[in-house]
């Protein structure tokens, strides 16, 4: 276990470094400069040069990269057109646009994305997996057909279509639900939940559809397994057979996929955030790409990569916990 962790952490760090370098290179490969974006159309070359200097973009790429890395580990000083900023470690730089530490942008927008994803996940892991399992147990019945039909329908729906319709029906037309908004859970848990309800439902339903089909297929397969037959032959009740024997085995691949999905979603759910006007990390990232806001681009890319890499390690460890046949090494 320990060796496994060390090995995976080393691999993860290498991945993150590689991603950061590639992001850096890609950013400078774009035939445009953030200075152009910030300067507007009628910009003189002199002003461009000044803006680039104030952003530190006149330095060689290698220097900029080492500065960036240095900032993360020991902090650094940033000189923005005479405004001296002490950026303490872990310093991801200052946003070109908001002129605030990138960490501030992240700490403000990440909780929004985490809230959306967390709630949606609870929904699709309960509703989606639950429905799929039930459908598998009632395979061939009307319930099964309706559940599978609905999940095919939802799975082929786009977030912005479903979200738009739900907004229109539940918020704009009837006012049944409040406008999606973000209130920190620490401030008012009830308001937090009510503001997140629509994104949860939307992202939850669409993913539920996917998870329902996956769980159903998985469960049907497991129910045909010999060990399930053995369990029944022992005289166990169907409930015990389904829960203790079938579910336990069927859930393993779902945990894996859910973990990887979680990692990917935490990096930002751009479309959901946009549809519901929530400025989470995904929207910050999308905006930063349009603005060529390098520090935010770097931070959001690295954060997304970090989540994916971390969740992969966690999933592998979980797998070993669930399935005794899996050995970490």
């Amino acid at each position: 276990m320990f060796r496994f962790l060390i090995k995976r952490l080393l691999l993860a760090s290498t991945t993150l470094v590689a991603i950061s370098i590639v992001t850096f290179l890609l950013f400078f490969a774009v035939p445009s400069s953030p200075a152009w974006v910030m300067c507007g159309r009628n910009c003189s070359p002199e002003r461009i040069a000044q803006v680039e200097q104030s952003l530190g973009l006149d330095q060689p790429i290698t220097k900029q990269y080492t500065d960036f890395v240095q900032g993360i580990f020991v902090g650094r000083t940033i000189d923005d057109a005479g405004t001296i900023r002490e950026c303490e470690a872990p310093c991801l730089g200052y946003s070109f646009r908001s002129k605030e530490p990138v960490t501030d942008t992240i700490t403000r927008s990440l909780p929004i994305t985490v809230s959306i994803v967390g709630g949606a996940m609870v929904i699709f892991l309960t509703v989606g997996v639950g429905l799929g399992m039930l459908a598998a147990l009632k395979k061939g019945t009307v319930f099964d057909r309706v559940a599978i039909g609905a999940s095919v329908g939802f799975a082929s729906t786009q977030t912005y279509t479903l979200g738009g319709v739900l907004l229109l029906v539940l918020v704009y037309s009837t006012g049944l639900l409040p406008n999606p908004h973000y209130t920190p859970i620490t401030e008012n848990p009830l308001d937090w939940a009510s503001g997140m309800l629509l994104p949860w439902i939307t992202l939850g339903l669409i993913n539920s559809a996917m998870y329902a089909r996956l769980s159903r297929a998985q469960m049907i397969e497991t129910l045909q397994e010999d060990f399930v037959r053995t369990a029944r032959a022992k005289g166990l009740s169907p409930g015990v057979v389904n829960r203790r024997h079938a579910l336990r085995a069927a859930i393993t691949p779902i945990v894996t996929i859910a973990g990887v999905d979680l990692g990917a979603y935490l990096g930002g759910v751009v479309i959901t955030e946009s549809v519901f006007s929530l400025n989470g990390i995904g929207r910050e990232a999308a905006q930063a790409v349009t603005d060529l806001n390098l520090p935010i681009v770097m931070a959001t890319v690295l954060l997304a990569a970090f989540f994916i890499v971390t969740m992969n390690i966690i999933v592998d460890m979980l797998y070993a916990v669930i399935d005794p046949r899996v050995r970490l090494g």
Partner: protein
């Protein structure tokens, strides 16, 4: 030219979403709460106009919080960097300037002294030396008094070469040069040096310009002249939390999420002739695109009854604004932006052809392509401009007169190229334009151009386009920022032209010089006359429509109207209905 914030790219995704939500509408929502388009305002001559407090709004009550639903964070809040219409509108509440616009919603716009006791004193009567005296009792949010030095310091910041994103009129006028910061580079790079031509003596500020600048009262209404306390200048960080001189100050600013403005206890209503400051607070929420904002405000849920927006209700939501209850909450009117089709006079030299093009244009059809919120317009200057006079030199009715055009062409059929940026709405408009002109025997060859380099292409003298899509908005309600900028032939260069007709006429040039020398109070009517003369005698362009503003408020927002100065719903007189 001032940019309109809606025109800025907000993000690839947002744009895609809006595009997918768009549907053509045949409704004609124009009408709503149509504001008067007759601009009767001018510069105040009576000092009493500049004295506070502002005239009470009938039925208004104090208290409550109004909520602005906004697509994206303001580009800037630092007064010396602000140049986009949404931030300009917001800045009126925390960054007072030497002069300001007093409006009551009837179209009677008056430029009065804001920080200053009057709209400006032309010391020698030659428009070269302007004197402003600050009122007594002006304070920043921290209670320190506002002095002439604070205004001078504010202006000095606008010289900084690394900024240069705000308006440049004052800097260029003070130095008499287009490249205004070659010597004096602002308080950071030229610390200790004096701002050229600008002096403060206690509460008296004097501008001395090398050339006559008769529109100084307008120019100092821009936030360039907002006072900044040097001791509290956080330079780059000032952009997030400027020190307030107006009725509201920033309590909390969560970038990209929201700003909470609360009352500035040190603002004295008795010094302010413009702002009523009825609400206790203003909350700005970011990240809500125009479609979501419009949907929410139309729905008018309890939470959104005090909400309003500074973007046009998008096409997808327009049809929902037709019910009487919603229509009452819509404020529609022309903006300072006018859409043109330029006629390249280097190529289309026959006046009769240019006139025929003006006769045949079907403005009604083109407005419908855009959703219907724009307004029929046949003049170069917009109705929000002082002195505006409505006329149509080639009156073919709302849908144009193809017969009259054919008559002028004398039976000839002609073929012209038409250049436009290659984006969906412009493609639709170009197709409609082609269809319209075909009826008059004029064949258009559509030439879509890369939107990123569009102005570089059409702004190059000697280009091969006969007709060119364009538009313009005035920086302040005077035609001096429109006609000289667009139609003074002496400014034509090889590249980067704004005179896309490449129109150069001695008679017109001389008239421009003459009117520029007039006092601002006298020039307004003269510009309007020149507008009419250019259209009648030369027809170098085809005004298409006045880009309309079509904004909406929740049911509990009262007292507001579309400001003629910045085009958006004004906060000055806004109040929360009980």
């Amino acid at each position: 030219m001032r940019r309109k914030f809606g025109a800025l790219p907000i993000g690839v995704l947002t744009v895609a979403l809006v595009a997918s939500g768009c549907s053509e509408t045949t409704n004609d929502p124009a009408g709503g709460n149509q504001q008067s388009v007759v601009q009767t305002g001018s510069i105040a001559t009576d000092p009493a106009d500049s004295q506070g407090p502002a005239k009470a709004v009938e039925g208004a009550t104090k208290g409550g919080t109004v909520k602005l639903l906004h697509a994206a964070e303001f580009e800037h809040l630092d007064p010396q960097k602000i140049y986009v219409s949404d931030a300009l509108s917001m800045a009126t509440q925390f960054a007072r300037t030497l002069t300001g616009y007093k409006e009551d919603g009837t179209g009677a716009l008056k430029l009065v002294g804001d920080l200053a006791t009057n709209a400006g004193e032309d010391v020698n009567g030659d428009c070269k030396v302007w004197k402003y005296t600050l009122k007594d009792g002006l304070k920043f949010e921290d209670g320190t008094p506002i002095t002439g030095a604070d205004v001078v310091y504010g202006v000095s910041r606008s010289f900084d070469p690394e900024w240069g994103v705000g308006p440049t009129y004052i800097q260029q006028w003070l130095t008499g040069a287009v490249e205004y910061n070659t010597t004096y580079k602002g308080p950071f790079q030229s610390a200790g040096a004096e701002v050229p031509g600008l002096k403060a003596d206690g509460n008296v500020i004097t501008f001395t310009f090398p050339q006559p600048q008769c529109e100084t009262p307008y120019a100092v209404a821009m936030p360039t002249t907002a006072p900044v306390p040097q001791a509290k200048d956080t330079k780059g960080d000032y952009d997030r939390k400027p020190v307030s001189s107006g009725p509201y100050m920033i309590k909390e600013h969560a970038y990209d999420q929201y700003i909470d403005f609360v009352r500035n206890p040190n603002w004295d209503a008795n010094t302010d002739p413009i702002r009523n400051a009825y609400p206790d607070g203003i909350r700005v929420e970011f990240g809500i695109d125009a479609e979501a904002s419009a949907n929410r405000i139309v729905a008018n849920a309890a939470d959104d009854q005090t909400a309003f927006m500074w973007a046009n209700v998008p096409a997808a939501v327009l049809s929902k604004t037709n019910t009487p209850e919603v229509k009452e909450r819509v404020k529609a009117g022309p903006s300072q932006y006018v859409e043109y089709t330029w006629i390249n006079t280097d190529r289309v030299t026959d006046l009769k052809v240019r006139q025929a093009l003006n006769y045949a244009v079907d403005r009604d059809a083109i407005i419908k392509v855009r959703g219907g919120t724009d307004q029929f317009g046949s003049t170069i200057i917009s109705p929000t401009i002082a002195g505006y006079e409505n006329f149509n030199a080639y009156d073919g009715g709302p849908t144009g007169n193809a017969e009259k055009a054919k008559e002028l062409l004398g039976g000839k059929t002609i073929k012209l190229t038409y250049a436009f940026p290659n984006v969906p709405v412009r493609q639709q408009m170009a197709a409609k334009t082609k269809e319209v002109y075909a009826k008059a025997g004029i064949e258009l060859v559509l030439t879509p151009l890369d939107p990123a380099t569009y102005y570089d292409s059409v702004g190059t003298k000697g280009n091969q386009y006969d007709l060119i899509r364009g538009g313009w908005g005035a920086d302040w309600p005077s035609a001096s920022t429109v006609i000289p900028a667009l139609l003074d032939g002496r400014t034509i260069r090889d590249k980067g032209n704004q005179n896309l007709a490449y129109f150069n006429n001695d008679e017109v040039n001389k008239e421009i010089d003459r009117i520029k020398g007039l006092k601002a109070t006298e020039s307004a009517a003269e510009w309007a006359k020149l507008d009419k003369k250019i259209m009648t005698d030369f027809a170098p362009l085809i005004p298409q429509y006045y880009i309309g503003n079509y904004e909406i408020t929740g049911s509990k927002v009262g007292g507001t109207f579309l400001s003629d100065s910045y085009g958006h719903l004004t906060l000055n007189t806004m109040f929360v209905k009980p």
